[in-house]
């Protein structure tokens, strides 16, 4: 097996290659503004580092968020299209699950939180690094303080709100290496992974901007 994993649901643009036993190459960059530019060159670098071509890949795993939409879609669209071109399966994994899998916390329970902007976090609670207890949700930190009280936390979203998340552990950002390892483990156990569809958790802002569609430079 050769699994290509990628995640662009958070400020991290992260890619990894897993051979069924271990991660053999990976790349992570944190840059919230350039997911579209950074992802393909990162894939190219990771493949070169491992000395393989993309057509050797037998499956793809992609983080489905939750995450801010524009960045999130870069990874999902890339994974979808790789799958089409290569004729290989594309699996979706919750980005929070990959963060939990890499959590540097002895034993649970704990909470994972990423930045959802607009003074909110994407979050879920875990019994241990492999077992999610709640559905991913988006909320204001103060509104969930009661639900996460006393739980250690992981993720950049937790770091932003120390009042709600006083004890924050590593890692800050998700890595495709963790995503790949989690996917490989679940696939080896015969689990069926979800389809690679985005977890937006919010409805689109249904507002037509002023001068919508005006694209001709003045």
């Amino acid at each position: 097996m050769l699994l290509l994993a990628l995640d662009t649901a958070t400020p991290a643009v992260t890619v990894a290659l897993h051979d069924g036993t271990a991660v053999i190459a990976s790349s992570s960059q944190v840059d919230a503004r350039r997911h579209g530019e950074l992802l393909l060159p990162a894939v190219d670098r990771v493949l070169a580092e491992a000395g393989v071509k993309l057509d050797a890949v037998t499956a793809i795993a992609v983080g489905v968020g939750p995450g801010p939409y524009t960045g999130l879609r870069v990874g999902l669209m890339t994974a979808d299209t790789f799958g089409l071109a290569l004729g290989v399966p594309v699996h979706g994994l919750c980005t929070l699950d990959a963060l939990a899998y890499a959590a540097d916390i002895g034993s649970g329970p704990f909470v994972v939180a990423t930045d959802a902007r607009r003074k909110e976090v994407y979050w879920a609670t875990y019994a241990d690094s492999r077992t999610r207890l709640t559905e991913p949700a988006v909320d204001r930190p103060a509104d969930i303080a009661g639900k996460v009280a006393g739980l250690p936390a992981v993720g950049a979203g937790a770091l932003l709100y120390p009042d709600t998340f006083p004890a924050v552990h590593e890692p800050e950002h998700v890595s495709a290496a963790a995503l790949a390892s989690l996917a490989a483990e679940r696939l080896a156990a015969g689990e069926e992974l979800p389809a690679p569809r985005p977890l937006y958790l919010r409805r689109p802002d249904a507002q037509v901007p002023r001068n919508y569609k005006v694209v001709t430079p003045k």
């Binding site: 503004r33 060159p41 993309l54 524009t70 960045g71 089409l84 937006y200 689109p204 005006v214």
Partner: protein, 362 residues
């Protein structure tokens, strides 16, 4: 001809997910998935709704285009994609797909300009573009007069709208008349039964001191809305057919007058009209009439090729391949304000490309 470049083009600059396949100047497939119905209740295109729809529609639309064309992805000579201008988040979905597809297939990638594509698409209908060609591009997003001596390298803007795009004016007047969205087709339909001279609406920027090739539709839009409101305030019925016909006449009169003048001034004997508003029946008829009178040959593609589609992107991509233009690099970005003077985004930048000021992450 089998040795002409076989190119797949992807278009996602607004609300249409378009995937087209051409061989040289021959159209093989033109698959389009539109999210227009999802935007109708908002009276305009909602960017996030469009972007979500692009992601869902992309793979099925590529598959449909390949099936329609009866070609294998392995046989493609290149992948072209709209790099801009357009809605940033929507463009990025198409650019991501095109990059992944080109990379996975080992094909060159061509990030191309949406406006140049609107011009180049006419090659699929009427054969190679005359050089130079004058182009009038009119849609919900653009109203421009462009002069091109080589569609892959030289597109010169002569004029553009200083406020609303022509298609936007149609949408807004349709909204005032409660005719729904998009406004173009429905106003065209009502106008056929109305009198274009019933109401004298203003012709924007047509005074002797006004810029010869620029357009303005904002004043017209306001004048029409005021006229309708005055009727309503007086308790009178609004003559929808006459208002539609008179408003439409004001728009197409200015468009065609300025386009023909630009051809005359520049000594160009071909005019092409593209963009969604080129589907308007009165624009086509009046342009034909005025071009004939001026000895200009008019080229207007069939309506389906005038609206946003992937075939136009493929057509320009094929021209890039045929003329040995440099491919784009893997860090190609979506550029919501890509200048019309850049027909494509080559990999070895010989100019410093300004990083988008917008945060594409949010």
């Amino acid at each position: 001809m089998a040795d002409e470049p076989l190119v797949l083009g992807i278009e996602t600059s607004c609300d249409e997910t378009g995937v087209g396949i051409v061989r040289g100047t021959t159209l093989l497939a033109d698959a389009v998935a539109s999210s227009v119905d999802e935007h109708a209740r908002f009276g305009g295109v909602v960017p996030e709704v469009a972007s979500r729809a692009h992601l869902e529609a992309m793979v099925p639309t590529i598959e449909r285009a390949l099936k329609d064309a009866g070609v294998s992805a392995r046989d493609l000579d290149g992948i072209a994609v709209t790099a801009g201008p357009g809605l940033a988040g929507a463009l990025l979905v198409g650019v991501s797909a095109a990059k992944a597809y080109a990379y996975a297939l080992g094909k060159p990638l061509y990030g191309v300009n949406h406006l140049a594509s609107h011009i180049c698409v006419d090659q699929l209908e009427h054969g190679p573009l005359p050089e130079p060609t004058m182009a009038l591009l009119v849609s919900g997003g653009h109203s421009s007069l462009l002069l091109s001596s080589d569609i892959t390298s030289d597109v010169r803007p002569l004029g553009a709208t200083i406020d609303d795009a022509a298609g936007e004016a149609f949408d807004k007047i349709a909204r005032v008349l409660n005719l729904g969205f998009p406004g173009g087709p429905v106003i065209d339909r009502y106008a056929k039964e109305g009198d274009p001279e019933a109401i004298a609406f203003p012709r924007g920027l047509t005074g002797p001191r006004d810029p010869a090739y620029d357009f303005s539709f904002s004043g017209l839009k306001t004048a029409v809305a005021r006229w309708i409101e005055a009727k309503r305030a007086a308790g009178e019925e609004v003559p929808v057919r006459d208002v539609s016909a008179s408003f439409q006449e004001a728009v197409v009169d200015v468009l065609t007058r300025k386009a023909v003048r630009a051809c005359r001034d520049e000594g160009v004997d071909h005019l092409m009209i593209g963009g969604g508003v080129a589907a308007n029946s009165r624009l086509r008829a009046l342009a034909q009439e005025r071009c004939e009178a001026a000895g200009i040959r008019l080229r207007v593609p069939r309506p389906k090729l005038c609206t946003d589609n992937g075939a136009m992107v493929a057509a320009l991509g094929a021209e890039m391949v045929a003329r040995n233009r440099a491919a784009s690099s893997w860090d190609l970005s979506a550029d919501s304000s890509l200048p019309v003077t850049d027909p494509h985004v080559p990999g070895n930048h010989d100019h410093v490309h300004e990083v988008s000021k917008e945060n594409l992450y949010s």
